[in-house]
Structures are given as C-alpha cells and as structure tokens.
Amino acid sequence: MTDRVKDWSRKNLFSSAFNSVLTVVFGVLILYTLYRSLRFVFLDARWEIIDRNLTNILVFRFPRDELWRVWLALYLFSAALGFAAGAAARRAGTGSTSAALRRAGPVLVLVAVFLWFSGSFRAVLLTAGVAAVAIGFRALGRRLPLRTAWVVLAVGGGIVLAFAAIMAFDGVGFERWGGLMLTVFLAVAGIAISFPIGVLLALGRRSSLPGVRIVCVAYIELFRGVPLITVLFMGAFTLGFFLPPGTPTPSLETRALVALVVFTSAYVAEIVRGGLQAVPVGQVEAAQALGLSSLKTTRLIVLPQALRAVIPALVGQFISLFKDTSLVATIGLAELLNVSQIITGQPDFVAQGLVFETLIFAAFVYWVGSYSMSRESQRLERRLGVGER
C-alpha cells in the first residue's frame, strides 16, 4: 500500500525538479487555505447571526403565525415530486431508493444544517415527515401503473394545491414572500414558465410564416441584447406603462418573475434553436415520407432529439437563472442574498463584519442548488443517451 502511494506520488507529484517545486508550493497554498477556511467555519465564525435569523433567511417577512401554510405546502410538494420521481423511475425501469437518497445528498446536508441551526425538535419531526411523505409517494409512484397523462395531472394538481395552501383562504400573497422561499419560487417558476415559451420561440424562429418568424427573432434579439438588470428595472418601474390603464399593478415579486421569464426565455430559445439545427434533415424527411404532419414531425421526431442534444446548455441556463434570482435584490426584493445583507444591519450585529458569515452561508445554499441541478442533468444525459448514434 505504502509502495503504491510512493509510486503514485513519484509519478504524479515529483516527476521532475520543477514539478516537485510546484507540488510543494501549491500543496502549502492549498493546506493553508483549507486551514484558514476550516478554522473560520468551525472556530472563529460567529454563527449566532444565522442561528438567530434562520427563519428570516428561509422566509423573511412571511407572517410567523402563517408558517403552518409553508409546512403544508412542503408536504404537498414533496408528495407531488416524490410521486413524479417514482413514476419516472418506473418508466425508466431504474432507480433504487438508496440511489435516489445518494443523489439527494447535498440537499440533505443543507437540510441538516438548517435543522442544526433551528435547534428545534418540532422542526426535525416536521422535516422527517416531509421526507417520509416524499419517500412514500415515490414508492407509490413506482408501483401504480398510471398513464402519463394521469401522472402529469396528479403532479400538477399537487403543485397547484401547494400554492393554494399558501395563498388561498386568506393566505399570504407573493408580496410577503422572502428569503430562500422566494429564491426557490422565482427559480422554479422561472424555469417552468420560460422553458415552454423558449421552445415556442425557437420553433417560431424557424417557422415558414414570415410574420411569426419576425416577431420571434425581434423578441429574442431584443432581450438577448439587454442586461438582466435592465429588464428587471423595466419590469419593476415601467411595466405599468405597458398595461392597459386601470389594471391593478401586479406585485413587485410578480413583476420580477415576469422579467426573469422574459429574459430567460430568449436564451432558452437560442439554445433550443441550436438543438433543432443539430437534428439531421433526413429525420424530417423520414417522418414526412411516413405521412406524419409537420406538427407531429416536430413533436415526435425533431423536438425530442433537439432537446436531448441541448440538455447541458439548458441546465446551464437554468443554473444561471437560479443564481440570477439574486439580482432581484436590486429592485428591493428580500430574497436569499438580500436577506443575508439585511440581517447584518440588525442592532445586535451591526458593524461587526458578520457579512462574512452570512455570505458564506448564502453561497453554500446557492452551491447546493446549482450542484444538484448540474448532477441531475448529467444523470439525465446518461439515461437519455441510450442508443445514441
């Protein structure tokens, strides 16, 4: 064993005098950085700012006596998503529960960190309940042989119910959402809405109808040529100008979401267009020769291949959207990053340089989200790569 270590390090770390110097210099640098980071995280950092503000970071101004709605929504969400994951695993004929748990690893670590800071036994129990519901519905989804349409209906219904749990029956509107909850909502809703719009724009850009084509090209080129912050500012301050007079102005959160969708769908459109162009013309000809209409050719032959080809780029765009939700701080929304700043101004913590702690914490949350998306995309690629030519 030690011989193998010696061999390996001689070959890879100390193969020449120059490489030996590099190894030593960078080894020292890495160790020092690691030492300083670990020391900060585990010894020096004053995590009580996170400890005291955990609820602020998670939901910010959300009324505390309505928090049960968020829990209820979490239960409904985990039921819907667990069911969807189970149905997908059944279709693919793969996916043991242990593999699914391993994939959720980073998220589980994040949840554990949250629970550690919350120090509340009730929160632990409730979270365990959410996990149990997710696992249970995943098992249900794997066993029930339902048609795709029913699965979509069930999952969509669960998501609608989750929103209803928060917003309906004298619930809490967008304008009082904040923290991580707002970040996740903006990202997920942004992705879910901008994806179909982007696909339609990409198809429209290749349409044979000049009117459709011109509108799509104009839209795509306009919003790709403008910084996201500009679109956000326009959404925040000038949207009322474009709405018919007398329409009640939507909340700032809604306007921010519209801006994110408008911006991202233009990018999605260009990514999807790249995928459409990568589908060989012979595929369309083969479909036409079989008598398929152009709509069915697009839906059954062209789009599935085009989207599969652009999964990495699409997920990259969605990761970027997830992180770009932090820009809504510039129009005054209290999402995760903004809350991290705001809490450093509390009387107990002001002017103590605690922004390190809050930023590191926020960065960790963003990283868990982005990394999980990236890993899921690699898995999706591998799975859909079956029978690649």
Binding site: A286, A289, L290, L292, G387
Partner: protein, 257 residues
C-alpha cells in the same frame, strides 16, 4: 399518354399505371436536375433506375413522394396529382413508402417504436395492433430479436432492414428505395437486397435506385438509365444489359460491369 413514343415506356407489371411522370422538370437554383422526365410505372412492376451520380436519380424518386417539389410537368401517384395541396401530399405519402440511403431511423426510439410510430399516429391504429403487425414485419426482414433495441445498437444491414419494415408498416402501394445499399459495408449488402427481392416477389410495386447491377438484373421488370437529368434509355434487363441502344448507356455499362 401521347408523350409515350417508345414501346419500352409502356408500364410493366399488371399494365395498369400507378405512377405517371410527364415532362417533369426540377431546378436547384441555376442547376437543372431533371430535364423533362417521362416515366410510367405499372402496378406490381419493379423498376430499377441506374446512372452516374448527379444524374438526377434520387431527385426523381424524391419528387414522387414530394420530398422535392417539381417545377414543371405532372406527377400522378395512385390517381392523385401532386400539387401544393398538403392534404393530397399526405394521402400520397401514406401510400408510398420510402427507404433512404442513410436509413434515417429515429435514434431516440426503439426499433419497435420506429415501426409503430406512423401506423399509430397516421393510420390511427391501436397500440397493440400496431405492435403485432410490427413484429410480423420484423420477422419478415428477419430481425425480430432486435425489436427493443435502439437503432444505434444495430449493424448497418439490420438498420436498413428495420427501415424497410418501418416503411412497410404503413401498408404502402409503392415502395421507393434511394440507393438502399450504398451506405452499407459489403458483407451486409446481400441481406438488404434479399429483403428487397422478397418484396419484389410478393408483388409490391418498387422503384429502386441502385448501383447493384446483379441485383437489378435479377429483380427488375424494367431498367431505366438516367444521365444529366434525363431518362436516356428504358427497357427490360435483357435489352438493357445485352443490347443497349444509346451511346451513354454503353459507356456507363462499360465502366461498371
């Protein structure tokens, strides 16, 4: 059919015409790919089209199912004249199967799904019925064990046989083959030609663009020789190979035989 001057232009098979081309012209920009082509193919006839590359063979058969739009002349398939009317085109395409040089199987679908796609979505057949006849077709082209694989997992010859099964699944009146063996390794050519020959024996109307002269001689009712966008010579295989009349035909045959 006053334009039919030569005896050889008469359709073979049952003698009842199923495909009629009259003075068909096709341009790609400044290049004229077809210069007034006349051809009548009879029901159950097997026509093999040969000729040097760039002579318009592929363009000609691609005009028959409107993958290319002809610029002048008439094309009538199974009693329907091809025009810009998309519904007519789709009716024609349902009755005309096509097999491509590069297979063009759908790589994201299994072989079985490739074959059942059009019957399900165009003929509106039930899933189980479509699968049943797909399996019969796979038996017929001798690759039933490949049904649940993806095209990328098959050899070239198997892919082309799957493509033949896919086209046959629509129960077409006519099958068009566009150089079906040109993209294949030599050892796989025979299995595909055998499948086509079996189709010819079953009484299906076939138009085959091919460079396989041995195959052509064995299955063709008539040979058509194309050069420079025209049909230079049409005749029975015996006439074509033993006694070609045109100088260009003789030259072509001397190069490839």
């Amino acid at each position: 059919m006053s334009t039919l001057t030569s005896e050889a232009l008469r359709p073979g098979g049952t003698g009842e015409p199923i495909i009629q081309l009259e003075a068909v012209e096709k341009w790609f920009g400044d290049f004229q790919a077809l210069r007034g082509v006349d051809l009548v193919v009879g029901k159950q006839e097997v026509v093999v089209i040969a000729g040097p590359s760039g002579s318009g063979k592929s363009t000609l058969i691609r005009c028959i199912n409107r993958l290319e739009k002809h610029d002048k002349g008439r094309i009538v398939v199974n009693g329907i004249e091809l025009s810009d009317d998309i519904r007519n085109i789709q009716v024609v395409r349902r009755e005309v199967g096509m097999v491509f040089q590069s297979f063009n199987l759908f790589p994201h679908l299994t072989v079985l799904d490739n074959i059942t796609l059009a019957p399900k979505h165009v003929r509106r057949r039930s899933k189980s019925a479509a699968r049943k006849s797909a399996m019969e077709l796979l038996e017929r082209v001798r690759i039933p064990e490949q049904a649940n694989k993806y095209p990328g997992q098959l050899s070239g010859g198997q892919q082309q046989r799957a493509a033949i099964a896919r086209a046959l699944a629509m129960n077409p009146e006519v099958m068009l083959f566009d150089e079906p063996t040109s993209a294949l390794d030599p050892e796989m050519i025979k299995e595909v030609l055998d499948a086509i020959e079996e189709l010819a024996d079953s009484g299906m109307t076939l138009i085959v663009v091919s460079h396989e002269m041995g195959f052509a001689r064995a299955v063709a009712d008539r040979m058509a020789f194309m050069a420079d966008g025209e049909i230079v010579e049409v005749g029975t295989p015996d006439h074509f190979f033993e006694n070609p009349q045109e100088e260009r035909t003789k030259q072509f045959l001397s190069q490839i035989l």
